[in-house]
Symmetry: C2
């Protein structure tokens, strides 16, 4: 019988759990978006996004999902028939390709096997092939394969040979890990509200470099017209009705982030990631990431003969633990547990405990608790 | 440094954690208590308290703390110079004595060592000493020592020799464990909102037997005049302004309790209690209860030379886990972890994990995770 006491907890890599203080802030939705009070809150939000993006330029806030800001990047920074290179190491790399193709770009793809991340050599070789390359699109964290790209290594290498536009999908990366947009000479970084910020989906964030602002496309655009947004948002006036309650949540999230401090948040995610990886190893499961495992989500294979989809359903139904399954070729083979957002170590432990209860139920493992114990040992180490 | 991500979690034996559905219900506070809508909700609440008390009589809801309903019981069921017997096995047994003395009763005390529960023989021997005994006051669960009384054994034995008033403090017992007020011939059961009901403090519940209603005192009383309340509450009209938002929470809690079912709730608390005791044993700590351990709270000694107060403070400051310390003679020697209310197994695991992190920090234990593993093994057993 299903345990009727079980409360649902989110371990999918977005939406992430929402702290009570963020929920409370979002209850304050009775605010007019054309009031000075709202304008002050809005400009304070965009201002406080700057260190999170690692840029001196002010990022913009759009009311849309992560895919929306990805599209905004393509629409504003490319023109029809532009040659663009997409690094595809998973589902979200593929998405860059699909959007760019929708908008008539000539898309080349550097395909990296799922579970791996691109090397500087691979990227440089691919860039060399294209004389008129306008832009490169890649991920900071390929959420679908639980792999992080080594931006600090890739981007300096690329910048030695490529002066065009570099666009980074940092949707599951921002806040959780250090983004150095200006230092790494990135032209566009996109993100969303429902990952590291620990508020619900509905807000997209986009930062553009000085160079990007000077090379905007002339494509038709309206909702995603970033130049128009930039002019309004400088005065706290987004062009269109913003998601007011989410802005109130963002305001509180930025307060939390400011209080905790970005370096602490980065270290925290790394510590939780180590604990998750230790637990998965102690459970005898194979990790999904072959190298560069993500600091915000850990993927693992179920043993041959077991359905990951069934296991995922079981964890939700029996233990309220909502994990993510595999996408594309990984469907039914892997599960992913997120350790992303303003959660604490105990939240992660409950997700790991749920996995172990499930492994026992399914007859995959006889023992229970070895994984959680391994995670606790990792967490108990001085940070 | 304190981990800034830590969220606070309650493991004190009241107030207990409040499920989100209860919190949401309590946001609906814009209700007039003299409206028909409120009257319907109120009478539905008192009606649904009956199976929880195990009585055919309708219990009353008062706006007060647990001590308030204890006083209401004494004020309405005793008169000055009445001989009363108090079973004192801890702090809340002592409280019965203090209240009865305040009201001029002649109080005899059956003192049971802290950590133990009374036997039928002890009770019968004490009753024999007093020819004109009017009432007996005891606990269902002595929260301060984490000991449960064997009501199903004690009361039938007592009823063979005693026809007077029996009053039970079931504040931390109700909902969590089966109360059989009519079957056990109890005349008065008192409880409160902040324990098994998983809503905040502020409501007291009191059930009286037919016999109790016929033997009300003539003492001066106003706020705690149960006869007056009974007349009003039958129509959904408490005598004085009720704690409206808490009634809305109670309404939702009773909905939850009805959906889950009392027998499931009782078994759930027993399972969590077994898990907590396994964990404490696996941590090498001595249990506080010598016999009849409580099903809602588990007490344990810290090893000699360690301050339980310091340890308690450390768990709250470092891990957000709010446990309860020892009271009276147990102060600074023991801690108590509650597994009470409409919580799930994962909540308990986080409290046990916090204890283990703390034991390591304090140098009491080198290992981490053995207790949680033992609890998980217990929880994974078929129920």
């Amino acid at each position: 019988m299903t345990d009727p006491f079980i409360q649902q907890r989110l371990f999918c890599p977005g939406p992430t759990p929402i702290p009570f203080s963020h929920q409370l802030a979002m209850l304050e939705g009775n605010i007019y978006h054309r009031s000075s009070k709202f304008r002050d809150i809005f400009t304070s939000c965009t201002e406080r996004l700057k260190p999170i993006f690692g840029t001196a330029e002010t990022p913009l806030i759009l009311t849309c999902s992560g895919t929306g800001v990805m599209e905004a990047a393509v629409v504003n920074l490319t023109s029809e028939r532009d040659q663009v290179l997409v690094v595809s190491a998973g589902k979200f790399g593929e998405r860059w390709g699909e959007i760019a193709e929708s908008y008539g770009c000539q898309v080349s793809c550097l395909t990296v096997p799922w579970g791996e991340s691109p090397t500087p050599e691979q990227l440089l070789k691919e860039i060399e092939k294209h004389k008129n390359l306008k832009a490169i699109f890649l991920q900071a964290n390929e959420t679908s394969t639980a792999v992080q790209f080594s931006l600090g290594e890739l981007l300096p290498a690329v910048r030695k040979v490529f002066a065009g536009i570099i666009v980074i999908d940092a949707i599951s990366y921002l806040v959780a890990q250090p983004m150095k947009m200006d230092e790494w000479q990135i032209d566009c970084v996109v993100s969303g509200s429902q990952k590291g910020f620990s508020i619900p989906p509905g807000l997209g964030f986009i930062g553009l470099s000085k160079k990007a602002w000077q090379s905007l496309s002339k494509r038709p655009k309206h909702y995603f017209d970033l130049l128009g947004e930039r002019q309004g948002q400088a005065l706290g006036k987004p062009s269109f009705t913003p998601a007011i309650s989410l802005i109130m949540g963002l305001n509180q999230a930025l307060e939390t982030i400011g209080t905790v401090g970005l370096p602490n948040i980065h270290k925290h995610h790394e510590k939780l990631a180590r604990a998750a990886r230790s637990a998965i190893a102690a459970m005898g499961l194979d990790p999904l990431a072959k190298s560069n495992p993500s600091q915000v989500v850990t993927g693992f294979y179920l043993p041959e003969g077991f359905s990951a989809s069934e296991f995922k359903k079981h964890l939700t139904a029996q233990y309220g633990a909502v994990l993510a399954g595999g996408q594309g070729p990984l469907q039914n083979r892997v599960l992913r547990i997120a350790h992303l957002g303003l959660i604490d170590r105990f939240h992660l432990l409950t997700g790991l405990a749920a996995i172990e209860f499930g492994l026992k139920d399914m007859g995959i493992q006889a023992a229970t608790g070895n994984g959680v114990k391994a995670a606790m040992e990792e967490l108990a180490k001085p940070s």
